[in-house]
Symmetry: C2
Subunit: 412 residues, 2 copies
DNA sequence: CCCCTTTGTCAAGGCTATGGACTAAGTCCA
DNA sequence: TGGACTTAGTCCATAGCCTTGACAAAGGGG
């Protein structure tokens, strides 16, 4: 009894191109009315009519349908401005439940989320290094639990996973860590749960989360996820951009450094060889023996220098830790500067584990970005650390689902 | 008697959001039918119905309207496949005339173009270093001549000009060379000629030209214009992307080099300091005195080394010329690699004066791009020199007009 | 020559938005 | 307190668009 159709239905029509119909008009206006109510609730039918240009009659019809489907409710009356007091309308937070899933490196996190991005229920399952069919099976276990834990109408499922993902077809083209190739993940889960399913790259999901729930008021933003790897999600003109082969935002392997480090992609000089958690840790381990003034100095086994220790040292203003981390930020800043010059976004949001290095790290990124692109553009672009952690991918997957299924993009 | 509305009309409605109406449905389907006929002409009403999913009845209605407006004509009958022979339909090349204008550094070029991108009439006017109101006046002179030279229904005017251009409002935000700031160029010309007017950045116009007339069969392509300056135009998912402040594609000022050259933007190390015509020429002049084996050696006045001489030397395999040009290509290749990694386009098309250096230059760009981003992506991306020169900006401006006004994007 | 297929048109019907009239329910002012 | 006025929401007739099914036109094939 979904209000709007998932991507599979579009295949049923033999025609390649999309035509317009009267029903399409109705659907469009219904989504429009829902969006206006959602964005400016509480509001009245008359206000919605003014905002959309539709007649009060048409709005009333759409609202009637929305109320029947539970997506809208009447919540008392508002103040009169000289005439009959308006009946206020609202989209109940829990009119639908959304399931969002974050397929991470070591575990799968999932949550039940409401239409405003509030997490209602959380659950996780470790991956224990499993991949292929076994990893998929664990994801299904998690989904089973989440579906069972829902007590509201379920809108569908959204997943964020590393790799090259074709969101239009729900296909995982290539996910190294999970050993998935051309896996029709969306179709498979849709058949199992009989719900709309959307799949996106994890960085892209993060971008959608910031777009939907970050309250940036922008329709052009880049989210750069820096942790074990580096990837970006691009929301351009209010739409997720994935590129021709789902590879948009794969900035981790941009050549930036003149070092000779071999990247997991097989080439040298990649951004990932200098700016990931692993990279800074390696660098610290390399330099520690020659840095007697550092708290990281004097360990016999390099493995003793953990990421947590590096963070502590950094926060204690340890010279070596600062140097290593800020040098990585330098390279990241140059790449981000190039991105700003190419795409002129209004926001660049940094997320991922490396954001623990906080303001000094951010400042170094900003400084170098400033040196790397037109001042006019860089100065006008807000480079910030995201505030949605650690659920950002879960929220983004849910946002993808909500946007595609209901046409809602909360903070656009 | 335009079939579809230009951007100004959208202001007349008080509502902010766009509603759907029955008339909107009709308009949409009419554009759809026109597009199908345009793309696969000659074709029949029945074929259009099959391609769109509309009924034959609806298609007939739309075609009737299109024939009345001259945008479609019946051109005989096709072969029967066992029943009545279909009446073939076509969009006449000259159903409308388009005016495209390229506001260059030293002159303004304009042309009358038909719906297939054939240039029917050309005209130019020198700028003689004029800017501001005087430059605008020259453009109007050119337009007056072009409008007078048209003998077919005129669809409108498209302009490509350097600078930051907001195409949505037809405003020139900032054009250094012409000394234009926040100039409502579109509005002004629209009032003067009472025709739809669209304005875009020149690199963006070039991108639209390649998209529309380049027959690449792609909806994600980047056009990089390398001449006096360096700029890119981005067509992403079939739409021109301009960024938040119309600054998307301003890659000329990406930091790439460790040199100390001061760029016109005030910073150092910009791509434009190493890869433009001016930059390679300067570099050749610098190195010539120390290169006795070069044909460029031994000139007393550096000014004697012209761009034309550099090109000759390059083509004659002069070592110095090769080194200078291919070194510039190296930096360009790295930037293009980064773009490919960020945006995963299917094509990167190089245009502008620097393309005279041809295949060796292109090969150097490709080689470095390959080293600068994921092999998977770079190998799948076609990096080529455009074939639409020298009219590419004129054609792109016309393509912008045609796309926005008729919904046609010829080679999508 | 007859049957079948395909094309294009026609008329009836269904769906959606619109516009004016109408009711309900407030404010404002005398 | 009451009447004029304003605003919200609904009702109903109408217009516009697409669809459905029927039908004529026109061609192929045995």
């Amino acid at each position: 009894m979904a209000l709007f159709s998932p991507w599979t239905k579009s295949k049923s029509s033999g025609a390649v191109l999309q035509k317009a119909t009267n029903q399409g008009t109705r659907l469009f206006n219904q989504r429009l009315v829902l969006k206006v109510i959602y964005d400016s609730s509480p509001t009245s039918r008359a206000d919605v009519a003014r905002a959309t240009g539709l007649t009060r009659t048409t709005v009333s019809g759409a609202v009637e349908h929305l109320i029947r489907s539970g997506l809208t409710e009447e919540v008392g009356t508002g103040r009169s401005t000289g005439g009959k007091a308006p009946i206020l309308l609202n989209v109940p937070d829990e009119a639908r439940h959304l399931i969002g899933v974050d397929v991470g490196d070591s575990r799968v996190s999932g949550a039940i989320v409401d239409l405003r991005g509030h997490v209602r229920h959380e659950s996780q399952v470790p991956l224990d290094g499993r991949d292929g069919e076994q990893a998929l099976s664990r994801i299904e276990d998690l989904l089973d639990r989440l579906v069972a834990a829902t007590d509201k109408p379920l809108l569908g499922i959204g997943l964020g996973t590393p790799g090259f993902i074709d969101t239009a077809t729900g296909t995982v083209r290539w996910a190294v860590n999970l050993d998935w190739h051309d896996l029709a993940l969306g179709e498979r889960l849709q058949k199992r749960y009989r719900l709309p399913v959307y799949v996106a790259n994890d960085s892209q999901a993060a971008a959608l989360a910031e777009y939907a729930f970050g309250h940036h008021g922008s329709s052009n933003l880049l989210v750069v996820k820096v942790g074990e790897g580096i990837g970006a999600g691009l929301v351009l003109d209010g739409r997720l951009f994935q590129g021709t082969r789902s590879g948009a935002g794969e900035i981790g392997h941009t050549a930036v450094a003149d070092n000779r480090r071999i990247c997991r992609c097989g080439r040298v000089g990649c951004l990932e060889t200098v700016a990931t958690m692993h990279a800074v840790l390696e660098r610290a381990r390399e330099l520690a023996p020659d840095a007697p003034d550092s708290v990281l100095h004097g360990t016999t086994d390099p493995e003793d220098i953990t990421f947590a220790r590096l963070v502590s040292a950094f926060e204690a203003h340890d010279r070596l830790a600062r140097e290593v981390v800020l040098d990585s930020a330098h390279h990241l800043g140059r790449t981000i500067g190039a991105l700003i010059g190419s795409l002129d976004p209004s926001h660049v949001i940094l997320v991922g584990a490396m954001t623990v290095f906080g303001d000094p790290w951010l400042a170094a990124i900003r400084r170098e970005a400033q040196r790397s692109a037109l001042t006019l553009l860089v100065d006008a672009t807000r480079v910030e650390i995201g505030k949605l952690t650690p659920n950002i991918v879960v929220l983004g997957s849910a946002a993808l689902l909500m946007t595609r299924e209901l046409g809602l993009s909360p903070a656009a």
